[in-house]
């Protein structure tokens, strides 16, 4: 009996021992899978950022060409009146052409001349006009200026265009490359910081296109969103946490808030289109409408965060306030809300960051129009940063690829700052009761 049981015990033991190795191996394998998937996730983060950065960092510099511009009075101001109207309507492109012709006197023939003039951006003429209008005294003088080069020249200088490809399959031709090399030899080509990228609006010409208009549109939208959603969110949270009775009506509100937080953003766009634009007749493409839509979208986030912040305020604070004779309303607004404010602000900033990155609902309300001017008020047509990314991503020019990536980098930088601010706020004001 004993021997039988001990033999069966031995049997079990040997079985267990035999299987242990296998089991440990399985254990290690499982653990490896876990680590591998975590690393894979991190790798995706790295790849995403690396691909954006490597494509985009060059857009912050722009190729410029040095030209000796003679502000010929015969061209700009034939009457000699310095009349601003005449000055602003003059043919500045001709000044650029003359300067180019002076540099390359050997180029003749219509087609070659056009190719030569194509090396300088069409924006150079606007730059000259701006100079003249600012200071009419330059008329008649000769200045050495750095003017923006065409986007294809820019791409060539940044090494994105392969010179060994046959001429027919690239947009910049052999003779143009020859001229550029000559200019480089004369030290007339350089890269300088691309300020226009941050200040100007959209353009069909990549070298003139900037994110200034989109940034301002986004800013207006976020201001509208914040001004509406923050007070409304706090008010709703205060009511639900402090005053609401437990009944079906309040349950309905809560279910609604939780569900709205998970409704696809494009559905909010449909709401904005049908209600704000078609029913109330608000202007299409206006940041104010975008702000309204984003308000409805971020409200649930802010309400949920604010409620959490309010519940974190300990009952002792409330009871003390009530104990010294404050009314319920005074207790809430003098004590609970100020103490919960950091948490509410954190929630609001995170909500704003989400709103900043949102683009699908904005497509619905017409914020994807091609808009050159930087908007002056929230009622002007505008676009938003993420929508600008979407618009540029569709453009065929090679130069827009780097601009799109650069715009994404700016967008991500904004988001990073906002999230960092939220984390800082939480760390700084977090109180354990």
């Amino acid at each position: 009996m004993t021997s039988a049981s001990s033999s069966s015990q031995d049997d079990v033991l040997s079985k267990v021992r035999a299987s242990l190795d296998r089991r440990y191996k399985r254990e290690r394998r499982f653990r490896l899978y876990g680590a591998a998937s975590a690393i894979l996730g991190l790798a995706f983060v790295a790849i995403l950022f690396a691909s954006i950065f490597s494509n985009g960092y060059t857009a912050f510099w722009q190729t410029h060409v040095q030209l000796d511009i003679y502000f010929d009075p015969d061209i700009i101001d034939p009457d000699g009146q310095r009349d601003p109207q005449a000055l602003s309507g003059a043919n500045y492109t001709k000044l650029v052409r003359n300067a180019m012709a002076e540099l390359f006197p050997g180029v003749s023939g219509r087609r070659d001349r056009r190719a030569l003039n194509g090396l300088v951006s069409s924006g150079a003429a606007y730059e000259l006009r701006r100079m003249v209008l600012e200071d009419p005294a330059v008329v008649g003088s000769k200045r050495t200026l750095w003017l923006a080069a065409d986007d294809e020249v820019d791409m060539l200088m940044k090494g994105y265009i392969d010179r060994n490809v046959p001429q027919s399959s690239r947009r910049i031709k052999d003779n143009q490359i020859g001229w550029i090399d000559e200019l480089v030899g004369q030290d007339r080509v350089r890269q300088q910081f691309n300020r226009g990228f941050f200040t100007s609006g959209d353009s069909r010409e990549p070298e003139l296109a900037g994110i200034g208009g989109a940034t301002k549109g986004s800013m207006y939208m976020l201001i509208v969103t914040f001004l509406l959603s923050f007070p409304l969110g706090i008010a709703a949270a205060v009511y639900l946490e402090e005053f609401a009775p437990r009944n079906r009506w309040v349950d309905l509100i809560e279910v609604n808030i939780n569900n709205l937080a998970a409704v696809p953003s494009i559905v909010f766009g449909l709401l904005g289109l049908a209600v704000f634009i078609n029913f109330f007749g608000l202007p299409r493409s206006a940041p104010v409408v975008g702000g309204l839509v984003l308000t409805l979208m971020t409200l649930p986030t802010i309400i949920i965060a604010s409620r959490a912040a309010i519940t974190a305020v300990p009952p002792s604070v409330r009871e003390a306030a009530l104990g010294v004779g404050a009314s319920h309303m005074q207790m809430v607004f003098h004590h609970v809300v100020p103490l919960a404010m950091p948490g509410m602000l954190t929630g609001a900033i995170i909500g704003m960051a989400r709103a900043l990155g949102e683009s699908a609902p904005l497509l619905m309300i017409g914020m994807i129009a091609f808009i050159v001017e930087v908007p002056g008020t929230p009622f002007d047509p505008a676009t938003a940063l993420p929508v600008q990314v979407y618009l540029w991503a569709d453009s065929p020019e090679r130069a827009f690829v780097e601009r799109t990536s650069a715009a994404i980098m700016v967008l991500l930088a904004f988001l990073l700052v906002m999230n960092a601010a939220a984390i800082w706020l939480r760390k700084k004001f977090e109180r354990r009761w």
Binding site: R31, G34, A35, G41, V267, G357, A360, Y390
Partner: protein
């Protein structure tokens, strides 16, 4: 008078009323020394007066904003000559648009009829006189309100209670906004969808196999009806979401298991926020990443393997969407795995199970409902995701299960149908709202289901 000016004047009047009310309260009490005879603090009497002064005017302005334009338009339409007035609805709206444009001075097209210019003048005149009347009324109402408050102010007036009552009303209104939003979404989507279903039968929409929403400009043109069978869109959406879940679920789940069961504290504090970055990246960035980096890469790989991969393949969009959803799955799963009581793990270890055996046979089965719930939430995210598919998936409605081909999704079609200028009541635009309705119902259903599952599971262990 501009509306902003009016609002500023109203605000100034309210501030003035506040001061008047406060002074009046102190006065009726008999000076500062007698303040204790007042029921509330003097400032509450100020607020009381300000509310009486400002709120009626605000309500009036809101009311005016809501109805003025349509009332004025009715009057303008009445003034139009009979042949214009009796136009069918859709053409009449074009005429009204013309009138509005002329009134704003945008483009008075040379061929616009003289009647329209007259109507536009009438429109502007009516608007400006209406605004003048409104301004007068608002200011008058403010004065009357202040007068009433003045007459009512007595030391025994329970000013604080009145003011707090108004504040509470404001709080209630703010909290009902969520309901209004839901109602607004439902109403706007449902209303247009019903109009769509009057043109296209519901069954054709839900079960039709071809989607080509091109409608002709003239009624006699070939193929003028367009076909609105949404099945290819549904299958396309499901295909891309399925690929996304195939990427996100294993990686997200294993990451959550690793982080909550194996990783040291230090690793967790660094890796978790780093992964959350993926959740914070705007979706348009993923779309760009998919179109610029992933799609060409897949094309090259496909060429290498001798497969034909469409440049806007479902695989590319699905892969990138999966990456986007990883942190979503992992953080939700992390929560449910952490909610499994430690005693269950300890029991399993005591029986001699290894850690992985414990996870596979005890922790994961216990957490399964929660994991299923979070996966469902992720699926609803994937179905509603727009920008990635708009940028990386195709427009052609192919009815296929081949991930290497281009498919289109519900959200892509909503965007393509609604972006750009077109008349608002064509079947083409209305179809977008019908798709929106389907999207809303499906995602709502998934969310409700997921929350139900998660909640039931939570009750078990608490």
């Amino acid at each position: 008078m501009q509306l902003t000016t009016l609002l500023l004047i109203l605000a100034a009047m309210a501030v003035m009323s506040f001061m008047v009310g406060r002074q009046r309260a102190i006065g009726t009490a008999g000076g500062y020394r007698q303040i204790k005879t007042l029921h509330s603090l003097p400032k509450y009497y100020g607020y009381y007066a300000a509310i009486w002064c400002g709120i009626p005017g605000l309500i009036l302005i809101a009311f005016w904003l809501a109805i003025a334009d349509s009332v004025i338009l009715d009057r303008v339409i009445e003034s139009l000559p009979a042949d214009l007035r009796n136009l069918p609805e859709s053409q009449l709206s074009l005429v009204i648009n013309d009138i509005k444009n002329i009134a704003v001075g945008q483009f008075a097209s040379p061929d616009s009829r003289a009647e329209l210019v007259v109507a536009a003048d009438l429109y502007t005149a009516l608007h400006s006189s209406a605004r003048r009347i409104l301004s007068g009324l608002v200011i008058l109402l403010g004065m009357i309100g202040l007068g009433i408050a003045w007459l009512r102010l007595r030391p025994e007036l329970r000013a604080r209670n009145h003011v707090e009552g108004m504040v509470k009303l404001g709080l209630v209104l703010a909290s009902t906004l969520a309901i209004f939003t839901t109602v607004g979404i439902l109403a706007s989507v449902l209303f247009e969808a019903v109009r769509f279903f009057q043109k296209v039968p519901v069954t054709d929409f839900l079960f039709g196999l071809t989607w080509s929403p091109q409608t002709a400009l003239r009624a006699d043109q070939v193929g003028s009806s367009g076909s609105f069978g949404a099945v290819p869109l549904f299958t396309g959406t499901l295909l891309i979401s399925f690929i996304a879940m195939l990427v996100a679920t294993p990686i997200g789940l294993m990451t959550a298991v690793y982080l909550s069961e194996y990783a040291t504290r230090r690793v967790r504090t660094w890796v978790k926020p780093a992964l959350e970055i993926l959740a914070g990246v705007p979706t348009v960035v993923y779309g760009y990443f998919a179109a610029l980096t992933v799609a060409p890469l897949l094309g090259d790989i496909g060429e290498f393997l001798g497969l034909e991969v469409a440049s806007e393949s479902a695989l590319g969009a699905g892969l990138v969407m999966g990456i986007m959803i990883i942190p979503f799955v992992s953080s939700l799963s992390d929560d449910v795995i952490n909610a499994v009581p430690q005693a269950m793990r300890d029991g399993s270890y005591a029986l001699g199970a290894t850690q992985s055996e414990t996870i596979k046979k005890v922790v994961l089965p216990a957490a399964l409902p929660g994991i299923v719930g979070s996966t469902l939430l992720a699926v609803s995210r994937a179905i509603g995701e727009t920008m990635i598919v708009v940028m990386a998936a195709g427009l052609a409605a192919n009815l296929t299960a081949n991930p290497l081909q281009a498919v289109t999704t519900v959200t892509v079609q909503i965007v393509t149908l609604l972006v750009g200028d077109q008349e608002f009541d064509s079947a083409k635009t209305l179809a977008a709202f019908a798709l929106g309705l389907v999207l809303f119902i499906v995602t709502l259903g998934l969310n409700v289901l997921a929350l139900q599952i998660v909640r039931r599971y939570r009750e078990q262990y608490e």
